[in-house]
């Protein structure tokens, strides 16, 4: 049995996050910032990571880098509550200042790859053409991403229902 730790991010940028990390460290409460599930800050905006978007990957400021890379647990989930991540060179990628930002998404993909985790985008799950709600289940073995089946089946019984 294990605990599952979640950070639910709001629309804050890297300066606020830096302050949160610094204050937490000052009080010796680093453990409070450990996470298994992270709902991203500001819809996968690069500004939650650092001041510069970057070409292919946003570089996080030191405190935010620590928060993502050191405080994430093995098998972690990063959930981006956002539209699809723009493809490189697309119109949204080149011209839309609003999140989600491809470069930020690349940062998050790298973080989870190093932890055998998963990066999930709400409007891409289970598929871009037909996104649907999904669940993060809290189990004895940690958090698990579960797609919601739209069809029902008979009870998964292994009993024939009669004995004699």
């Amino acid at each position: 049995m294990r605990d599952v730790l979640a950070l639910l991010g709001s629309d804050v940028d890297h300066t606020t996050l830096t302050e949160i990390v610094q204050v937490t460290r000052k009080h010796g409460n680093e453990d409070r910032l450990r996470w298994d599930v992270l709902k991203l800050f500001h819809h996968c905006s690069y500004k939650s990571l650092g001041p510069d978007k970057g070409v292919d990957e946003t570089e996080a400021v030191p405190e935010v880098k620590w928060l993502f890379e050191q405080q994430s647990n093995e098998g972690c989930y990063i959930v981006s509550p956002s539209w699809e991540i723009p493809a490189k060179g697309s119109d949204a990628d080149k011209n839309d200042p609003q999140p989600p930002h491809r470069q930020a998404a690349n940062h998050h993909r790298r973080v989870v790859a190093n932890k055998d985790g998963e990066f999930v985008v709400t409007m891409e799950t289970p598929m871009k053409a037909k996104p649907k709600p999904f669940r993060i289940e809290i189990t004895a073995a940690g958090a698990a991403l579960a797609y919601i089946s739209t069809s029902s089946s008979a009870a998964a019984t292994s009993s024939t229902g009669r004995v004699g």
């Binding site: 599952v4 093995e74 053409a129 940690g142 579960a146 797609y147 089946s149 089946s153 292994s158």
Partner: protein, 546 residues
């Protein structure tokens, strides 16, 4: 992907599937937008067809088994059997609840253990995909095994079934168990009933059908993928060595020891060898080891021949003996273990009191010593049920009556018992249910004069069941000097009510008191208003009805 999958038949377009159910699964996937299963491809091999699917697994951060977030499976559809689900990852982990497969084939997931004839009526594409998804989810959480499910056997592929007495399961060390094995039904030539050899006076029977059984206890292990039963001693030795048992060396020691037994040595050497391995299984849910897997192997060869193959004995032929006899090899030869064939046996324990109580979920026996007074219909029904639930180690049956044709209507006995004393016939029936019951017959009516052995049986009883349907008998039993608890069972005159009068365990409230309370209840309870009313009956005086 497992190389087996890419070499299985030929690739086909999903639109060209011939199997109706497979085609429905493809249609279902096309309509479904939940992303749980994705069609990767389709193949055909003779009459069977396979869909290759990617399954999105509900995989937690720390799965119990190394299951991936997306697993590729091949679902094979057969004309006349249920679908088989093969995990196509080459390094798919060994988990419980996989069907047995040869080593060269991928893992086969056990998603439904119902017979296909039972399951097919409700099996839909949604059910199939739901079961596959559920299997992976449960594997990740270590919940593949339901609490009510029997544990998977360690080995499959037994050719024979053998019924063994309890002594075979309790044997630890010491001399081997000597048995005689019979095939009891021509319709079931693969079922062997093994009985203790000391029941048989005829030495030839023991020699021709003798079985020498030896049991080994192994250390506890977790449920794992089922393996095929080894077919020879060499393969069995490898399996047991992996579990810490040097089987060949143990057998050599034992056969040498048996050879040296002056009284039983010849019997051992002439008999077939039966090996039992008792392995406590670690329950996947509780972690406890209450359950035990018992694996059996029977040699077509005699113990002597096994000893010869192991190099510890050799066969001699002299002018004085028609048959060869075995001698101890002064220098042990090399063991030709691959030449010693084995028949894997499914092992069943013979029905006895402890097993009966286990099956009835009875922690202890209702009563060790019982007496049944009245071997009529109700006595036969109630007592037989108790015997089948493991009650009694000793049981005396008392009745003076003879079993007649009209008794068959409600009795447990049948036509072969007609003309026999009821007590003796019922005793034989109880003996046929449990041979560990010590039974005695008292062909008499309970009266003031009672043979000593009947008195002693009543004296020793913890429970006396009066099924005589006789008020004087019930009262005589109640008043008797014996210590055991009494119970009286009977029907009302119309046969519409069954009545049980049971004393308190300490007999402070005895049968007479309970009878008084019964009569008060009948007099005062509106629901029992018709209790003593008579109904139309067939009067019977022993003569055929006109």
């Amino acid at each position: 992907m497992h190389p087996w999958a890419t070499g299985w038949g030929e690739e086909i377009a999903a639109a060209h599937l011939r199997d109706g159910f497979a085609a429905r699964v493809v249609e279902f996937l096309a309509r479904s937008d939940d992303g749980i299963a994705t069609l990767v491809g389709a193949r055909r091999h003779r009459a069977a067809e396979m869909l290759v699917l990617d399954i999105r697994v509900v995989r937690p951060q720390s799965p119990v088994y190394p299951i991936n977030r997306v697993e590729t499976v091949g679902v094979i559809f057969f004309e006349k059997d249920g679908p088989r689900v093969m995990a196509l990852r080459e390094d798919f982990p060994d988990t419980p609840h996989q069907n047995w497969m040869p080593e060269t084939l991928p893992s086969c997931l056990c998603i439904d253990d119902r017979p296909w004839a039972e399951a097919r009526a409700t099996f839909t594409p949604a059910e199939l995909l739901s079961r596959i998804s559920m299997w992976f989810r449960r594997a990740c959480l270590g919940e593949l095994h339901d609490a009510a499910q029997p544990l998977d056997p360690l080995f499959v592929g037994a050719l024979l079934d053998i019924i063994l007495p309890r002594a075979a399961f309790d044997a630890t060390g010491g001399p081997p168990i000597e048995l005689v094995g019979f095939c009891v039904s021509e319709a079931r030539p693969d079922h062997i009933l093994a009985l203790p050899a000391n029941r048989f006076k005829d030495a030839k029977v023991v020699r021709d059908a003798g079985i020498t059984l030896v049991a080994f206890d192994l250390s506890a292990q977790a449920m794992a993928r089922m393996r095929w039963m080894p077919r020879n001693l060499e393969a069995l030795d490898r399996e047991m060595a992996a579990r810490g048992l040097p089987l060949i060396e143990e057998l050599k020691k034992r056969i040498i020891s048996w050879f040296g037994d002056p009284s039983a040595g010849r019997r051992y050497l002439d008999s077939k060898l039966c090996l039992l391995f008792r392995i406590p299984i670690i329950h996947p849910l509780t972690g406890g080891t209450g359950a035990q897997s018992t694996i059996g192997f029977l040699t077509p060869s005699t113990v002597g021949e096994v000893g010869e193959a192991l190099g510890v004995l050799y066969k001699t032929h002299s002018d004085h003996t028609k048959d060869g006899s075995f001698m101890r090899a002064l220098v042990c030869g090399s063991a030709a273990t691959a030449t010693i064939g084995l028949d894997g046996v499914s092992v069943h324990q013979a029905f006895d009191g402890p097993l009966a109580r286990e099956l009835a979920s009875a922690a202890t026996s209702l009563a060790e010593n019982g007496v049944l007074v009245g071997a009529g219909a109700i006595g036969s029904l109630v007592t037989e049920t108790l015997v089948r639930e493991g009650a009694f180690d000793r049981l005396a049956v008392i009745d003076h009556d003879t079993f007649l044709p009209h008794n068959i209507a409600r009795h447990t006995l049948g036509a072969p018992s007609v003309g026999h004393p009821k007590a003796a016939a019922l005793k034989d029936r109880f003996a046929s249910i449990r041979d560990d019951l010590a039974l005695s017959v008292h062909d008499l009516r309970i009266g003031d004069d009672m043979p000593q052995e009947t008195f002693e049986a009543l004296q020793a009883a913890n429970l006396v069941i009066d099924a005589s349907a006789s008020v004087p008998t019930a009262r005589r039993l109640s008043d008797g000097p014996w210590l055991g608890r009494r119970a009286s069972i009977f029907f009302n005159p119309a046969g519409t009510d069954g009545v049980l009068l049971l004393e308190s365990a300490d007999r402070d409230v005895d049968l007479r008191n309970v009878e008084a309370a019964y009569h008060r209840l009948v007099q005062t309870s509106p629901t029992l208003q018709e209790h003593f009313a008579t109904a139309a009956m067939l009067p019977y005086t022993g003569h055929a009805a006109a």
